[in-house]
């Protein structure tokens, strides 16, 4: 079974961009996109998701539930305490980064503007979390 990756980002273009990157460079993963944290929560609540993902890429600034609220949701008891959550954001605010780690982010990264760097970042992220990292 291919590893499953969930991407939560409110910017449609960014989702398209990531989608392209995944189909072109990392086609071995099964990627699902969610336009907002609320959309993911709703999917979880209705049970339409088959299983917890193997990796979750999360935007920080979103309308509705933002990244930190999503992390609280994901890390709450009975949810997905062990799913690696990588926060991808444009922020350079240290307070935001701290808040992410406090609520249980696995990684907090700045969205690269350079395309090649974006590709290589995603490759190493997937490699690290889906192959090197040992899950509990």
């Amino acid at each position: 079974m291919p590893s499953t990756i969930y991407v939560v980002d409110d910017a449609a273009d960014y989702r398209t961009l990531l989608g392209k990157v995944f189909t072109r460079f990392l086609p071995q993963y099964d990627v699902q996109f969610f336009a907002s944290g609320d959309a993911l929560c709703e999917a979880v609540a209705t049970g339409s998701l088959p299983c917890p993902p193997d990796l979750l890429l999360l935007d920080l600034h979103m309308p509705g539930r933002n990244g930190v609220a999503m992390l609280q949701f994901i890390r709450q008891a009975g949810q997905w305490p062990y799913v690696p959550v990588v926060v991808l954001s444009n922020t350079d605010q240290q307070a935001d980064v701290d808040a992410c780690y406090e609520t249980g982010a696995s990684f907090v990264l700045r969205k690269p503007t350079d395309f090649d760097r974006l590709v290589s970042l995603l490759e190493s992220l997937c490699h690290y979390w889906l192959h090197l990292n040992r899950r509990p």
Binding site: A11, D13, Y14, T16, L17, K20, V21, R24, H61, P63, G64, N66, N90, T91, D92, Q93, K111, P112, T113, D114, F115, D116, L118
Partner: protein, 1648 residues
């Protein structure tokens, strides 16, 4: 030991002296069992019974009395020195410890000594110890573990042990004994008694168990003993059987012990003699095992023999430890260890002695016993409470673990001990031992065996080793081998210089099982070992010669040899193997390799291996062993043995050979020969080695695989175990479920039973006979009603076919068919009528109902209703009805009946005949037609009213007869009401009353005629009367006639008018008259009348009456008795009330005058005024008393002249007074003046004099009346007041405050028209530019110029009316002076104060200035804070917009890169649109940022024009309407149609657009609204944009783009001097309220 002489059967002289003692132990619940036992016990058993009751039970006396009723035997309380007599019962006291010695109770120990808490054990043990005579021990109910040790001892001593079975109330004591295996019989008390009796009958045999003194009797002498040969023979056979079966020869054990135990068994099997037992044994080989175990029973305990143990611990063991170096093992052997207590005791002692040093030491404690069961128990190491009784608490805690009821030896102790079955006398002993403890074994052996044992010990011990024996044991004849170390404790040391001659017979240990028949394949004669010593046992006497010889030969001449199995375990020894073999150190082992001398080991293994391979004998010779520096040469031969068993056995023959001849001549031949030999040997060795190695490798592999198999199977076992665990849990849970289900079922069952019970009860109670039939129509059951009805019983009914019942009365084909129908087609029937006729019951009408009911099987419920009675009643009813009809039809009246609604239901025949109509006719047409038309309405009303009220009624009417004539009928109708109160109709009867009616009418007519005549007469009379009344009325005289006898009065109308009555309500009686008469008048009037009646003279009186209208009238009556009568009076009445009233008024006026006089007098005296009168004509004066006092006249002075008064007046006032007096006189005015009078004593008084002149009708003065009042005090007060006012004025004048008091001036209507100045001070006067004196009395309107001008009055009036103070500060125009003017209401006036507050005012102004400064600096602070906030916001804004730009650029980059890689047009266009979109976003953001920068740099300027913002906003809203619709939002606009203000239309548009677009963008559902309106003040207008979106987030950076838009909006708003207020709630919405000015300074100019 017992001192009794040997007793035996025939020739015993003191047979009677032997009394078997039955010891009975019991504890809780034991006395009941004892009672039962005694009750069943024969009193002549010849035994003595000793009853030991546990200490915690009741006292012996109590027990004695308790038991005595149950047995004829004497029951004694045992006492010291009491001899024991047969057939008596002894109860052992609990207060002291008694033993039995030689048939006498003996006290042991000091009386004060603590009593053992195990009295039963103690007594049993002591009994066996001291008495040693055949004893029987019985243990009854009890809750302790007492008695177990005692029973063991009894059994060991050959006694018989019996315990109570589960009839015991407390089972713990008997049961623990049973568990211990020391019990022979388990019986209820009664059977114990029977068993005892039986034993007593076997007395001769029983007596053989008596232990005889036999210690020194040699086996040979036994023939001399009193035993009969026969008995001896039997004994021997038994021993032989034993030896054959168990491989143990008991013949050299002390024969008496053995015998006793054998006899015990004999007794137990209820056999009469040993011979019987022999034959029993032959038939039941298993009994041999029991016997063997019994024979080996031994008494042992922990730390037995305390003294010795102390010695061992304190001296012996430390010595042993000391003598050994640390690395040498300490080796101890305990032969005959029984159940291990001795071994464990020593182990514990050793551990205690070693203490800390124990760690490094190797300790080997060998404990062996012949009995495997004992060894097994020893290995277990688990002991009961009784068994560990001798262990101190400390040791118990250190070395034992309590498991349930048992104490288990700890591992530390257990690991030191090695337990093994071992025959000391036959098996090879252990060797190199440091200590042997063999206590209480030798006593069971005869001399021969004792010696052998001692020799074995000597052999086994190290030099200097120790031997520990029992108290009564010695080394006996083997003294040279040991020296006694300590006399008291039987400790011996091995003597080293003497060589013991131990020899071991190597009989196989367990021949009984395998019956291995050994057939040596090859047997060589060998030279006997020089150490081959004397044989162990002498042959049994009297055996066949062959056997003896064989044995001799075997022992003497057979070479030393052993039989081994494949594992080289030695099974048998032959000959003396001592030279070649020795027991190995460590665990006792019979492995050949371990036992063989080291130099032999290799070759032994080799030859056996070869023999196994080849199947032939292999021999190896020339092996050298060195023993004590002497070399021996040995040859060994391994011979495979063919046995019937699977296992291969080998006979290993050892042979000592001569030393190989060393070739003396060194010839080449010999050398060559030697070389060849060596080469051959080498070759064979190599071959051997190779094969061995190969085999070893193979076996290694096998081992490996076996190991793996073991591991795997181990794992399998583990998994199986886990599975088992799981299944166990499952089973448990299933069990739980089952329990629950069971419980549920139980509940259901209860419900079911209840329901069934209900059904049964109903079935039993219903009055209808009911039958339950099965499908064969057999009666299943019937209820009591059925039996009652048909007089049947259950026996004759149940299980019978229905139609067989009651002599086939029920055999009714129709019924049967119907019932069968029910069975076949589930039909049912009801109300099947049946006539049932029997001689017994008569005829019965039955109504049958049946239906199918389903119980467990189909059944039919048949209910039989007995309708006989009902039908009878119905018939009766019909009969009665017929009667009634008959009666009704024949009665001479018309009878009718209606139902409840009033419809006729019955008309009798008479009715029909009378009217000629039938019931049907009436029912159809009603009977109205028959009624006379005039009567109809009245009758119908009556009828319907009565029906509705259900009342009886009576009517008369005319009814048409059949011939058409109407006849008068009288009708009575009665409502029909049933027993239950139910109204059911009317029954009526009518009678023809036509004749009576007509006669009545005739009568009436006649009466009428007479009446007319009478009334004409009456009219005449009336007229006469009227005339009379008119006369009376004119005369106002009432007349009446009075009958004094009857009290009747006949008044005229006039009289009644006086009374106020009319005829109608006047009761003409005296009583009534009296009632209205004044009560005071009644009696005199009656007296007058009575008098008049007597003298007949006319009389008169006045009567006061109360008229009907309540007024009282005086009536004057004049009366005279009617001439010629005695009782009638004619009287006239005259109303004299008016006269009376005038009299009354006169009297009242007089009274009033008197009272007025009094009042005047009182007034004068209270006012302290004097009254005087001056007659002008005479000049005379008259003064009353007070007047005199005041004027100064002496009380008695003549005051007749006016001059007296004038003289008294003060000379200064005299002229004035006279002037006033004259003036008053002239003007006829009242005189009033204050004047002073001087009294004679010089006192001066101020008087107020008043006067009034009276004139005659011509105006001439007649006289004056005057009053004088003393007002001296008043005058003084007035003076004082004047002074005070002056003072007050001074105070007021001195104040620098202007003060004035004004009083209101009121007009007639009490409205205030003006105010008058009452008081003012100088300051006030100064203010109003006047002087004080002129001011007072002025009205304020004159001063209003200085006050409030035309407001003055209004202000004052307001203060006056409301009572509220009025204050005003006023600046005087000229003087630059501040005045504070205050108005306050005071009393009935207003106080006006004016104060100079110029200084105060100035200070206030200063303070105000300071405050303003503060305000402005505050504003500066706020501006600063705002600036800071703006800076922060701008930083935030820049950051967030840079994030957004970053995001855009990231996507632009990505899209650009992807564009170059895109494969399809679609993808390319997607990328392009993405690029475009993000570039646009970025551009827009940059534009906005630029805008913002321009705004902030102040480059934007406002272009103020007149704008219709309503139009502007409406158009804007219309333009964004599509966007809102696209998102499904509702856009509200509200505001006035026109709203023209000054403003910058471009910027307003931008602001509004910005807000609206944002609102639409971020609102997902709901509505967006825009509203405009003029503000509260006209110089402002308001713009409101609200949405139902998510609300503004706290951090502006979270929402992209919004931050910058909002910031621009803010800036624009600020530019337009507007104010922006945001009200936002998460998830509710956001509301922007903007306020702009409607005009700007110089707004009209476009470029300002």
């Amino acid at each position: 030991m017992a001192k009794t002489t040997p007793i035996d059967l025939p020739d015993t002289t003191d047979e009677s002296a032997f009394i078997p003692i039955v010891a009975i132990g019991a504890s809780a619940g034991g006395s009941d069992a004892m009672r039962d036992l005694l009750a069943s016990l024969s009193p002549t058993t010849g035994m003595a019974f000793v009853y030991v009751q546990h200490a915690d039970a009741s006292q012996p006396e109590a027990i004695t009395s308790l038991l005595s009723p149950y047995t004829p035997m004497t029951i004694n309380e045992a006492r010291h020195a009491m001899p024991i007599v047969a057939n008596q019962v002894y109860v052992l006291p609990t207060s002291e410890e008694l033993d039995v010695r030689d048939g006498v109770f003996v006290r042991v120990g000091h009386p004060e000594q603590a009593i053992s808490d195990m009295p039963i054990d103690r007594f049993f043990l002591s009994l066996i110890d001291r008495q040693k005579e055949g004893a029987v021990a019985v243990l009854l109910s009890g809750s302790t573990v007492d008695g177990v040790l005692g029973l063991r001892a009894v059994k060991a001593a050959g006694g018989i042990t019996i315990v109570q079975d589960d009839t015991a109330r407390y089972q713990s004591m008997p049961r623990s004994a049973v568990l211990e295996g020391v019990v022979d019989k388990i019986l209820p008390p009664a059977e114990i008694a029977a068993e005892l009796e039986r034993l007593s009958q076997q007395m001769p045999l029983f007596r053989q168990t008596v232990m005889r003194e036999e210690g020194d009797i040699e086996p040979g002498e036994r023939s001399a003993s009193a035993l009969s040969d026969e008995s001896e023979e039997d004994m021997r056979s038994i021993l032989q059987l034993l030896r054959r079966a168990m491989g143990v020869d008991f013949s050299h054990y002390k024969i008496n012990t053995i015998r006793r135990r054998i006899i015990r068994r004999t007794l137990l099997f209820k056999l009469d003699s040993l011979r019987d037992y022999v034959s029993y044994l032959r038939q039941h080989p298993e009994e041999l095992v029991q016997l063997y175990d019994d024979l080996l029973i031994n008494v042992t305990s922990f730390f037995r023999d305390t003294d010795t143990m102390d010695y061992v611990q304190k001296v012996l063991l430390p010595q042993v430890v000391r003598e050994k170096s640390v690395d040498e093992p300490i080796r101890i052997w305990i032969p005959a260890c029984s159940t291990g207590q001795e071994a464990y005791s020593l182990a514990m002692l050793l551990l205690e002695v070693l203490g800390e040093q124990e760690a490094g030491r190797t300790i080997q404690l060998f404990a062996t016993d012949l009995s495997e069961s004992a060894v097994a128990k020893a290995r277990l190491g688990s002991y009961s409470r009784g068994e560990v009784a001798g262990v101190s608490a400390r040791r118990l805690q250190r070395f034992f673990t309590k498991v349930d009821d048992h104490y288990r030896i700890n591992k530390a102790v257990r690991d030191l001990c090695v337990f093994a079955p071992h025959n000391l006398l036959k098996d090879p002993p252990f060797s190199r031992l440091d200590l042997i403890s063999c206590r209480n074994l030798l006593i069971y052996l005869d001399g021969t065996l004792q010696r052998k044992a001692i020799i074995t010990f000597h052999y086994a011990l190290n030099p200097g080793g120790y031997l520990l024996l029992g108290k009564s044991e010695t080394v006996g004849t083997s003294i040279p081998l040991f020296s006694q170390l300590e006399k008291n404790y039987k400790v011996f040391a091995r003597k080293n210089d003497i060589d013991s001659r131990a020899s071991f017979s190597m009989a196989p240990r367990s021949v009984d099982n395998d019956h291995v028949m050994v057939r040596p394949a090859q047997l060589k004669r060998t030279v006997m070992n020089e150490h081959n010593a004397e044989r162990a046992a002498s042959g049994p006497a009297g055996s066949e010669l062959d056997k003896v010889v064989d044995l001799l030969l075997l022992n003497q001449y057979v070479p030393a040899s052993v039989v081994v199995n494949q594992d080289l375990e030695i099974l048998q020894f032959r000959g003396s193997t001592g030279l070649f073999l020795e027991p190995s150190p460590g665990k006792a082992s019979l492995n050949l390799i371990k036992m063989a001398r080291p130099s032999l080991v290799f070759e032994l293994r080799n030859v056996v291996h070869k023999a196994q391979k080849t199947g032939e004998a292999v021999r190896k010779t020339g092996l050298e062993i060195k023993i004590r520096n002497k070399a021996h040469y040995v040859a060994i031969e391994a011979v495979p043995l063919d046995t019937s068993t699977e296992e291969r056995l080998f006979l290993i023959v050892f042979e000592e050979v001569d030393s190989p001849v060393i070739p003396s001549m060194k010839t080449a031949d010999a050398r060559n020969q030697r070389i060849r030999e060596l080469e051959i040997e080498l070759t064979s060795l190599r071959e051997d080695m190779r094969s061995i190695i190969e085999e070893q490798e193979a076996s290694n592999e096998e081992l490996q695989s076996a190991n793996e198999e073991i591991i795997s199977s181990n794992e399998e076992l583990q998994s199986i175990n886990e599975e088992l665990e799981t299944s166990k849990e499952e089973i448990e849970s299933t069990n739980e479920e089952l329990l629950t289900i069971n419980q549920e079922l139980q509940v259901r069952n209860d419900q079911l039973s209840e329901a069934y019970q209900f059904a049964e009860d109903i079935f039993g109670t219903i009055r209808e006979a009911t039958l339950i039939l099965d499908t064969d129509l057999r009666v299943k059951s019937a209820n009591p009603a059925f039996y009652r009805l048909f007089n049947l019983t259950a026996d004759t009914t149940e299980r019978r076919l229905l139609y067989e019942l009651d002599n086939r009365q029920w055999d009714i084909p129709e019924l049967r068919a119907m019932l069968m129908d029910i069975v076949t087609s589930d039909a049912q029937f009801q109300g099947f009528e049946l006539s049932y006729n029997t001689a017994k019951l008569g005829e019965k009408r039955l109504s049958l109902n049946a239906r199918r009911v389903v119980r467990q099987k189909d059944a039919i419920l048949l209910a039989i209703e007995d309708s006989t009675e009902r039908q009878r009643v119905q018939q009766l009813l019909a009969g009665r009805e017929a009667w009634f009809r008959q009666i009704a039809d024949n009665a001479p009246t018309l009878i009718w009946v209606t139902d409840a609604e009033g419809n006729y239901t019955f008309l009798n025949q008479v009715w029909a005949q009378f009217t000629g109509r039938s019931l049907d006719d009436v029912t159809a047409a009603g009977w109205d037609a028959s009624l006379y038309a005039e009567d109809l309405a009245a009758y119908q009303t009556l009828f319907h009213d009565s029906v509705s009220l259900r009342q009886p009624f009576e009517a008369e009417y005319r009814l048409r007869r059949h011939d058409g004539e109407y006849r008068w009928m009288l009708e009575h109708a009665q409502p029909l009401v049933g027993d239950d109160g139910q109204f059911s109709g009317y029954i009526g009867s009518s009678v023809d009353v036509h004749l009576q009616k007509e006669m009545n009418q005739e009568l009436d007519r006649r009466v009428q005629e007479r009446t007319t005549e009478l009334s004409a007469l009456n009219d005449n009379l009336e007229r006469v009367n009227r005339h009379l009344r008119q006369i009376q009325a004119i005369a106002q005289i009432g007349t009446y006639e009075f009958d004094s006898l009857t009290g009747e009065i006949f008044p005229s109308d006039e009289m009644l008018a006086f009374f106020g009555y009319v005829h109608a309500n006047f009761q003409p009686t005296v009583t009534f008259l009296n009632a209205i008469t004044h009560p005071d008048d009644i009696e005199p009037i009656q007296a007058t009348i009575r008098q008049a009646m007597i003298d007949g003279k006319p009389f008169s009186y006045v009567r006061r009456i109360t008229r009907s209208d309540g007024e009282m009238r005086y009536l004057l009556n004049r009366a005279e008795r009617l001439p010629g009568t005695h009782n009638r009076v004619l009287a006239s009445v005259l109303d004299i009330t008016a006269t009376k009233q005038v009299e009354e008024q006169l009297r009242e006026r007089t009274t009033e005058l008197t009272r007025a006089n009094e009042l005047m007098e009182m007034a004068l005296s209270t006012s302290k005024a004097g009254l005087g009168q001056w007659d002008w004509r005479t000049n005379a004066t008259v003064w009353d008393e007070r007047g005199k006092q005041l004027i100064g006249f002496a009380s008695d002075e003549e005051t007749a002249n006016i001059t007296g008064w004038i003289n008294r007046i003060h000379p200064d006032d005299r002229a004035l007074v006279m002037k006033h007096a004259q003036a008053a006189m002239l003007n006829s005015e009242p005189f009033m003046l204050e004047y002073r009078v001087v009294h004679d004593d010089g006192n001066e008084l101020y008087l107020l004099g008043t006067g009034q002149m009276e004139k005659d009708e011509y105006g001439k003065p007649l006289r004056s009346f005057g009053l004088v009042i003393d007002i001296s005090n008043l005058k003084q007060t007035e003076q004082k007041l004047k002074q005070t006012a002056l003072n007050l004025q001074a105070v007021l004048n001195s104040s620098d405050m202007a003060v004035a008091f004004v009083k209101p001036v009121r007009d007639e209507a009490q409205t205030i028209v003006n105010f008058q100045l009452a008081t003012a001070n100088r300051e006030f006067a100064r203010v109003v530019d006047s002087s004080v004196d002129t001011l007072i009395g002025q009205v304020v309107t004159d001063l209003s110029k200085a006050l409030w001008q035309d407001q003055t009055m209004a202000i004052l009036q307001r203060v006056m009316a409301s009572g509220k103070a009025y204050q005003e500060e006023r600046l005087s125009a000229n003087k630059k002076q501040w005045m504070l003017i205050t108005l306050k209401r005071y009393d009935d006036g207003v106080v006006v104060t004016g104060q100079d507050v110029t200084a105060l005012k100035e200070a206030e102004q200063q303070q105000l200035d300071l405050l303003n400064q503060l305000e402005s600096s505050n504003q500066n602070m706020q501006v600063l804070a705002q600036l800071r906030q703006q800076l922060r916001e701008r930083g935030e804004l820049l950051r967030s917009s840079s994030h957004d730009l970053r995001g855009n650029f990231g996507i632009i980059q990505g899209a650009a890169s992807l564009l170059s890689m895109a494969n399809t047009d679609e993808e390319r266009s997607q990328m392009l649109s993405m690029l475009q979109r993000n570039m646009q976003q970025a551009t827009q953001m940059l534009t906005e940022l630029l805008d913002l920068a321009r705004l902030e740099a102040g480059q934007e300027e406002r272009q103020i024009t007149l704008v219709d913002v309503a139009r502007l906003l409406r158009e804007l809203a219309d333009s964004v309407q599509p966007m809102a619709e696209e998102k499904g939002l509702v856009l509200h606009k509200s505001g006035p149609d026109r709203l023209s203000v000054w403003g910058d239309s471009m910027k307003l548009n931008r602001i509004a657009q910005n807000l609206l677009l944002n609102a639409i963008k971020y609102t997902q559902r709901g509505s967006v609204s825009i509203a405009w309106q003029l503000g509260v003040d006209d110089d402002q207008w308001e713009l409101v944009v609200a949405d139902t979106g998510p609300g503004l987030s706290v951090s502006p950076s979270a929402d992209r783009g919004e931050g910058i838009g909002l910031t621009i909006t803010r800036q624009l708003c600020q530019l337009l001097d507007g104010q922006l207020h945001v009200d936002s709630q998460p998830d509710v919405g956001t509301r922007f309220t903007l306020t702009f000015p409607t005009h700007y300074a110089g707004g009209a100019l476009p470029d300002s």
